[in-house]
Symmetry: C3
Subunit: 309 residues, 3 copies
């Protein structure tokens, strides 16, 4: 079936990062009645999507009770969507300084939930919640976030726990994609490749979300060099793009979110290289800034023009 | 009839700010023969618009003689356009240091002209002509413009005159929308809300043109916070968008005009909130930089994807 | 025939600058088997182009052997493309400090090749290969490139050689368009106009590629002022656009590549002015940054909306 993938039917999911998980009255989308979920998901459908990723900043499907999960999936099916993958976000690191054990257990539940709802992939990361400084900034990537410690024991703990999760996922036919994020063990192309090789489970690969890196207002490796290193390991992929200006004479480095076509990463080339290495996972369209859903829809349309006919 | 408004027929006007009111030979568009007006308006029609706002920087319809106004409206009708609203620009402030009385009289004529040509709204502002420094800059928003004085008497004069205009407009079934613009009494969300409450005429509301603010190379309130304050008062709305980069570490704040979807203001959210408060006025697409008309057309198409079906 | 040009059939070529002339294994596209050329050109066709310019950074058609050129043109025809013009790039300046004579001979061969394959124009420039500093920068326009010497003898040599080429081209019914590029004799509007007048051959005009200039992180003449000077001389035109931010208060000048519609140059106005001067050459869509081919395709579609019906 995977060899039937083509531009028309390749799973391209909308991220829910344009929709807050916290409602204006302070209550959580997690606790909304099902028809409110439907109202939000209908916007996703109206934007032309047939797939979405609940992104656990919006709804933590793995933490829904069995009956609520049934309600959720009923809504998803009714509006006409499917879920190719579940991404975890800022409350899920298996080496979180405070909640590491709870998050490890949560990640196992995410894998089980993925299997139950028919998703084929999960995305895990080692990044944490926003710092107070990040919350104060207009764009969170202009301030430092939580950093993984330069400590062999913690590194080894991360490897072991991701290996454990990877084996669990592999048994259920689920792939684990590790999201690249600055200042984590998966925060550079070389670091991500080393980490995945240290984990050494075939079901575990890299979520080559180098948009997370090219937006940093500090020196970063050229996108093309990173892609060459990453494509042999690429799995479920968060795609987004940024303009990036560098001018040493002005001591200037800055970035701004834009569409996949207009940003610095050439996704035509990046995806062609991944396909040449057998990439056959879904894509997730993410975007920060402005109308995220609309830009994700543009990006989905763009991807369909560069995927194989 | 207003409750029949939907994505397909919501009035979305092109601004004429991409077309200079002064011709290469120094003569004014105001004085052009009617067929020259037609040639320009045909470009607007070719870009897919069914509505436009003459924007008084292009043609001051309120200052056309009766026979010239008939010619103008004949051209407008012949090319297939309607005019949902008339916006005044830089020569219209009712507290202008030099021409306040003349501009007050002009604004009354604008209201009368709006009624005569079937427009439903006018946009008034308290900003002035460009300073010499603004004219020298590539982008006028990188230099300070004329500021409203911090003086209770002038503030009160502005309130009284806008109230007088508002009552005139209200009698004719026209709404008055006050354009947000930095360093005027309507230059912040809080200031605009206070001003409109001080005016206290139901026909008078706010033109939530916060694109004018998010483009400033200085600290500004977050767009989402402004929108929450403004939507209860929103009337005829100039929509445009900007990228906005802030980086305290580099002491950097800068902006650049972009499409509604790609800029920092999430118009999906902003407009949904306004609709929830009963917004039913027209929109005006404006854009500075590059091919204004083409970007306005993109923005119109975008608006139709997020307005109610 | 030229008076039948309209939006639908105006030749608008894709540049090949999104495709490297050097393959990952270090070999040259110049030496590829014909079916590999076809694979690349099929992407150009899939992007909706009917014309392309081989851009000598991709393939130097004038240096193909007769049989290889036949192969090349067979591929071009088979995929459904035509070549309205041939642009030379960084290894072609007739006043190159080292290879001036060889490049002059090459330029003559380019003219002959153009005539042979049915192209109507060639683009020549006086710029050189990237400096080491340019190669180290993320964007080459943030470092100085090779500069033409401030030396009357070299200037005169450039004029004479371009005149010689222009006469050769003119005999074959080919136009020569001189590409504007900073720090060359054709590096400002005034300089380009003077140079073309000094050359004084009707077949020789200006490639008004002012995208090359508005992207510079230094003061440049306003695009509108340059266009007014250039349009009487405009021939085969490389069109691309950039955002450009200037803020004297922050001592900031920066740029970023964007689509024709969103960048600082208003191509609607620029092209209308050129058409009024009788412009009837092809356009070349170029773009740096991200997925060049996709942005070129957007730009082609945009051009067709502003060309005469």
């Amino acid at each position: 079936m995977t060899n039937r993938l083509s531009a028309d039917n390749w799973p391209i999911a909308a991220a829910m990062n344009g929709f807050s998980g916290v409602l204006p009255d302070g209550s959580l989308v997690q606790d909304q009645p099902a028809d409110h979920w439907a109202a939000t998901l209908e916007q996703v459908v109206d934007a032309g999507f047939t797939e979405f990723d609940p992104s656990d900043s919006w709804v933590r499907v793995a933490d829904l009770s069995p009956s609520r999960l049934r309600d959720f999936m009923y809504v998803v099916k009714t509006v006409g969507l499917t879920i190719p993958a579940i991404s975890t976000t800022r409350k899920a690191s298996v080496i979180d300084p405070v909640n590491a054990d709870a998050y490890l257990a949560y990640n196992h539940r995410v894998i089980d939930a993925a299997a139950e709802i028919g998703a084929k992939a999960v995305s895990f990361g080692l990044f944490g919640e926003f710092t107070e400084e990040q919350k104060r900034h207009l764009w969170f990537w202009t301030a430092d976030g939580v950093k993984n410690p330069d400590d062999p024991a913690t590194y080894q703990k991360a490897v072991s726990r991701i290996r454990e999760l990877g084996k669990h996922a592999q048994e259920l036919g689920i792939e684990v994609s590790l999201e690249m994020y600055e200042d984590t063990y998966i925060g550079t192309a070389d670091g991500a490749v080393k980490f995945v090789n240290d984990v050494d489970v075939p079901a575990v690969g890299i979520n080559a979300d180098i948009g997370n890196l090219v937006r940093l207002h500090r020196p970063v490796e050229h996108w093309a060099s990173m892609i060459d290193k990453l494509v042999p390991y690429a799995k479920y992929w968060h795609v987004k793009n940024y303009m990036r200006i560098e001018d040493p004479a002005q001591n200037l480095i800055c970035s701004y979110p834009t569409s996949l076509a207009l940003g610095i990463i050439n996704y035509r080339v990046a995806i062609q290289k991944a396909l040449a290495h057998g990439y056959k996972s879904a894509f997730l369209c993410e975007h920060y800034g402005g109308d995220s859903l609309t830009v994700c829809a543009m990006n989905r349309d763009y991807l369909r023009t560069i995927l194989p006919r």
